[in-house]
């Protein structure tokens, strides 16, 4: 491979592009003209006060929330309308939720293999093998036959990450993955996410974990009142926020 092709990779078109995205919930303008692009292998952390639209932003990327206007493209393709094409796109974008959302009636292993078997039509034996490897990777292989309710929150969230990874996604969306966890379990989930980031997974992470933003993010995006206020590398953002809103937000969360 020549150096020229390496340059091509780094300058190739971004994986996720949002352009002038607007979203209204009735009279509420939750996304106000938001534009954002996420390159391949990039880790973008979205922070901001509650109700600033950051979760909604994350959920528009796989169209769990349809947008009112603007455009979103994933891997060069505009998001399709509801239907088989959208299902296919969603299978390529992993999502991790605040409340884990593991399938309550299925075992841990079944949670991880359902997508590969039903969506990707993989052979159950192959899906099982990879599922167990993924569970091993997130440190819960010995719980494979338990049900979600028998696991701690941190363990459930790690299973949820394994479930998303089992689809071999091109990107991962994290919607406040540690907000529902007891404090002592936050670390184990962040460790898994950090290792994913190091391996070059493209990630959009909505979080209040400033430590994670500092050491794992390529860029920090600050949102307030539905607007994307700042977009900067973490060192720059935390040392020297430009907007008043960001300064105010950081002063509130970093002083204690």
């Amino acid at each position: 491979m020549t150096t020229g092709t390496v340059d091509d990779v780094t300058t190739s078109e971004p994986l996720i592009v949002l352009e002038s995205v607007n979203k209204w919930f009735g009279p509420l303008h939750v996304l106000d003209n938001v534009s954002l692009s996420v390159g391949r292998g990039e880790v973008v952390v979205v922070i901001g006060p509650s109700g600033s639209g950051k979760s909604t932003l994350c959920r528009t990327i796989n169209r769990l929330e349809p947008i009112t206007s603007g455009s979103i493209t994933f891997d060069g393709q505009p998001l399709p309308a509801e239907g088989r094409a959208l299902a296919k796109l969603r299978s390529e974008v992993g999502m991790v939720f605040q409340s884990f959302n593991l399938f309550a009636h299925k075992t841990i292993l079944q949670n991880v293999t359902l997508g590969p078997i039903k969506v990707r039509r993989e052979k159950p034996a192959a899906a099982r093998e990879r599922g167990l490897a993924l569970l091993d990777r997130v440190g819960i292989a010995n719980q494979a036959d338990k049900f979600p309710a028998q696991l701690s929150g941190g363990q459930q969230q790690r299973v949820a990450i394994a479930r998303a990874l089992a689809m071999q996604p091109k990107a991962m969306l994290f919607d406040e993955p540690t907000s529902a966890l007891d404090p002592e379990m936050v670390g184990e989930v962040l460790d898994v996410m950090t290792s994913l980031a190091r391996e070059g997974m493209t990630m959009v992470v909505v979080t209040h974990e400033m430590g994670f933003a500092r050491h794992a993010a390529n860029r920090v995006v600050f949102m307030a009142d539905g607007q994307l206020v700042e977009d900067a590398p973490p060192t720059e953002f935390f040392a020297n926020p430009r907007s008043e809103r960001a300064k105010d937000f950081l002063s509130k969360i970093l002083t204690h």
Binding site: A87, S99, L102, G115, K118, R163
Partner: protein, 235 residues
């Protein structure tokens, strides 16, 4: 009270006919109700509208009116509901195949009416499944049908079964109306047959008929209680 023993065969045949129509209507209503429920939760707005319209009509009309439409409207339209003369089935349920169509009309009315309530019982079960379950399934790329089949319905069943049972119990009691719409010889019509035509005293006959309905409904109710207790333990 000797009428209960002397005319046991009359009660028994009335019981059998009511059991037949309830069995058939329950199956019909469960199938039709499931279809309407899928329409009502479908992501396609026109399908949702059809499902909602169905429920709004049949849940809100008195069963008597639905029976009128079936028993007098269908013949006026030239239909004897002959599509219900299902080969094979009409051997076990002989009234399905008779030339006199009122059993079939009664069955249609009871099925259409009950299906609206079956739909709502199923839907309440689906609504009891946390929205995050379906969201997680969608985010994995499961289609609407796969989502229902592998994620939502297996979990909604537990919340649906008790209300569904209540719907079926109500349907068994509602079936008493068919005697007034031309169906000869069901359990409720037995009263008229024995008292007016047979000159039997009313109260013992009414007691006999009540026992007949209770034999169908009480065990069903007890079964539901058992299921409810099992679920409470499992939780």
């Amino acid at each position: 009270m000797s009428v209960l023993i002397d005319k046991f065969d009359v009660f028994a045949s009335g019981f059998w006919l009511t059991l037949q129509i309830c069995f058939l209507a329950a199956i019909g209503a469960l199938i039709l109700g499931s279809v309407v429920a899928v329409l009502r939760i479908s992501p396609v707005p026109p399908l949702r509208a059809v499902g909602t319209a169905y429920v709004n009509i049949f849940r809100n009309l008195p069963l008597t009116i639905v029976m009128f439409f079936a028993a007098f409207g269908l013949p006026a339209l030239g239909s004897n509901a002959d599509f219900l003369r299902i080969p094979g089935l009409d051997i076990v349920f002989s009234r399905l195949g008779t030339d006199l169509p009122y059993f079939r009309f009664g069955l249609i009315a009871l099925t259409l009416y009950t299906a609206a309530f079956v739909c709502e019982a199923l839907r309440s079960g689906v609504n009891a499944v946390p929205a995050g379950q379906a969201e997680a399934a969608r985010s994995l790329g499961l289609t609407f049908t796969q989502n229902l089949r592998y994620v939502v319905l297996p979990q909604s069943w537990a919340a649906s079964v008790v209300p569904l049972g209540s719907v079926i119990i109500a349907m068994i009691k509602n079936s008493a109306l068919i005697g007034f719409f031309g169906v000869v010889g069901d359990l409720s019509a037995t009263a008229d047959q024995l008292t007016s035509a047979g000159g039997e005293p009313f109260i013992p006959v009414a007691i006999g008929i009540s026992i007949g309905y209770l034999i169908m409904t009480v065990p069903l109710g007890m079964l539901l209680d058992r299921i409810e207790q099992r679920q409470a333990v499992a939780r």
